[in-house]
């Protein structure tokens, strides 16, 4: 009856986690290399399995469809690159690598369940499985005051967001009498939009706002991003955001398609506020991690426009945008990690004259930031183009105008970084080229290739995203 085979990717990842934990326990400190290799092999096996197992449902709670597969591929790719980011984490940060990898992979496993969940309980457990390891990873270096403080602030607001989301679930359950998202639709049509349903929906939207880091629920983002070890910041910004959006798509598209006019209007306002505030707050930042944190808030503001234009075009451009954002953001964070290793600083002043010291790193940062700003012919341009076109075709012209103005505004602070890299002179004591270890080089090459390839030749991913979304919207 139940088809265990559909759960195979998750089972493999779960076994990898346990295996890493055991190997960490029995290995001596000189065998640390195996932990990383084991994690990489586990993730690769999961990816392969993901594309082998058939589409279908496991019980009523777990659905492996094209959308889940697309999101899971993004998350596993992010996981793979972040494991490479943290290749010698124990040496650089002086903290054990084994538990670090276990927590990182557990968080990834949580997102895999989120991407497939069609039932409130599974979505909630997946969400908490994603969040708690990320909180612990943010606070992974408690001797560093920033890390512990960022972790605590992250925990309090993430727990608050999850609790509000849960309260919304409980009200909807009281109205509809089911925790199954598909079964909600007929039940809610029968009850109509009673105050109970609307209040539940409002709580769910607020909870989702926390997870997607929309203004005014974004307060945790800059602190968590700055406090976390940089590799974790990269994972938070890419996979954490992807998790928030897939959760929103699952809940709203499967459970509340009837109330679309209510929530899309709320999201339109949140999108406008989020991108404006994110971009304005990013301008005065001099800490690169904080700057990228506010930049990621602004990016969330753009992406949420895809939920406003809740059609095939809107949803598929969210998927494409998330892919482009993955490459651009991980490339930027890769350079931040490389610079941080050599200068022990994430301040903008550490980037002065980077072009003279390490021209290749400087070029990668240039491409990543221009892609985030949406300059052709890079990935970010195609992503923004499809997204804005989708919103325009839904008639939200004011939102598109605002988004274009915001993109221009964002160019200002991205160019501030580029100016520091290309025009300003390096400090007298920082003239050595930045050394980049092999694992980091691999990430930088992959992400740069992604930025260029997706920008020049976007159609394979765009077609895949559209195909997936068409299947998702017409069950």
């Amino acid at each position: 009856m139940s088809n265990w085979f559909i759960l195979l990717p998750e089972i493999i990842l779960a076994f990898t986690i346990m295996l890493v934990l055991i190997v960490d326990l029995i290995s001596t400190s000189c065998q640390r290399l195996w932990l990383g290799v084991l994690s990489l092999v586990g993730i690769l096996l999961t990816v392969i399995c993901l594309w082998i197992v058939p589409s279908g449902a496991f019980g009523e709670a777990f659905l492996n469809d094209g959308l889940a597969r697309f999101i899971k591929s993004i998350v596993l790719l992010a996981l793979l690159l972040v494991v490479l980011f943290s290749w010698d984490f124990d040496k650089v940060w002086g903290r054990p690598l084994g538990e670090y990898l276990v927590l990182l992979l557990s968080s990834g496993l949580g997102i895999l369940f989120l991407a497939s969940g069609t039932e409130m309980i599974l979505l909630y457990i997946g969400l908490e499985l994603t969040t708690f390891p990320l909180v612990l990873l943010t606070a992974y270096c408690p001797a560093d005051k920033k890390s512990a403080e960022g972790g605590l602030k992250f925990l309090v607001l993430a727990a608050l967001g999850a609790a509000v989301l849960l309260f919304g679930f409980s009200l909807i359950y009281a109205a509809a009498g089911t925790t199954q998202l598909q079964a909600l639709v007929p039940a809610l049509i029968q009850t109509g939009n009673t105050p109970l349903v609307l209040m539940g929906l409002l709580c769910i939207l607020a909870g989702l706002g926390f997870k997607m880091a929309l203004v005014p629920f974004h307060m945790w983002v800059p602190d968590a991003y700055e406090g976390a070890p940089t590799a974790i910041t990269a994972f938070l910004s890419v996979a954490g955001k992807t998790a928030g959006f897939v959760l929103a798509i699952r809940i709203l598209a499967t459970g509340f398609p009837v109330q679309v006019s209510e929530w899309s209007r709320i999201f339109a306002v949140l999108a406008a506020v989020t991108m404006c505030l994110g971009n304005f707050a990013a301008i005065p930042q001099t800490n690169m991690k904080r700057l990228l944190a506010y930049s990621s808030i602004a990016q969330a503001g753009y992406i949420v426009m895809g939920l406003v234009a809740f059609q095939v075009l809107g949803l598929s451009s969210i998927l494409y945008y998330l892919t482009a954002y993955l490459f651009a953001n991980l490339a930027a964070f890769g350079v931040v990690i490389a610079v941080e290793r050599s200068s022990r600083s994430v301040e903008l002043s550490a980037y002065h004259g980077l072009a003279m010291r390490s021209p290749r790193l400087a070029l990668i940062m240039l491409l990543a930031l221009l892609s985030l700003a949406g300059i052709p012919p890079l990935a970010g341009f195609a992503a923004k183009f499809y997204l804005f076109a989708a919103v325009y075709s839904e008639g939200y012209i004011w939102l598109v105008v605002l988004a274009v103005l915001n993109s221009a505004l964002s160019l200002y602070y991205y160019l501030k970084v580029i100016r520091a890299i290309y025009i300003q002179k390096p400090a007298a004591d920082a003239v050595q080229p930045v050394t980049v270890p092999l694992a980091l080089t691999i990430v930088l090459v992959v992400t740069t290739f992604g930025i260029l390839a997706l920008g020049v030749y976007p159609s394979p991913i765009v077609d895949l995203a559209r195909e997936v979304v068409v299947l998702f919207l017409t069950p």
């Binding site: 457990i125 001797a143 925990l155």
Partner: protein, 101 residues
């Protein structure tokens, strides 16, 4: 008087309102965690009442999961509070301001 689902939901909403008041007025990390636990209790109450009146077992199962996760959350939260207290001798979020801007 018949006790209906609405009565339970009203109590759930009152608990939610009290904990929201706590979240916005308290700045001590432990008090904040307490307030968030209170939301979880309101949620558990709503789900259990829903099961009682709607005849769907899903709500009670959900309530058990909520209680379990709330325990895990308290464990993570208190561990972090202790780590910070050792470092800074303070757990007031308004006075933890290394990160801001």
């Amino acid at each position: 008087m018949m006790i209906t689902l609405t009565h339970y939901l009203v109590i759930g909403c009152i608990l939610f309102a009290i904990s929201m008041y706590g979240v916005f007025t308290r700045r001590n990390a432990v008090a904040l965690l307490l307030a968030i636990e209170l939301i979880m209790l309101a949620v558990a109450l709503n789900f259990t009442a829903g099961t009682r009146f709607l005849g769907d077992a899903g709500g009670q199962i959900f309530a058990i999961f909520v209680i379990t996760v709330a325990a895990a959350e308290a464990a993570v939260g208190l561990a972090l509070v202790i780590a910070i207290y050792r470092n800074q001798k303070d757990v007031d979020l308004d006075r933890l301001t290394i990160l801001k801007g």
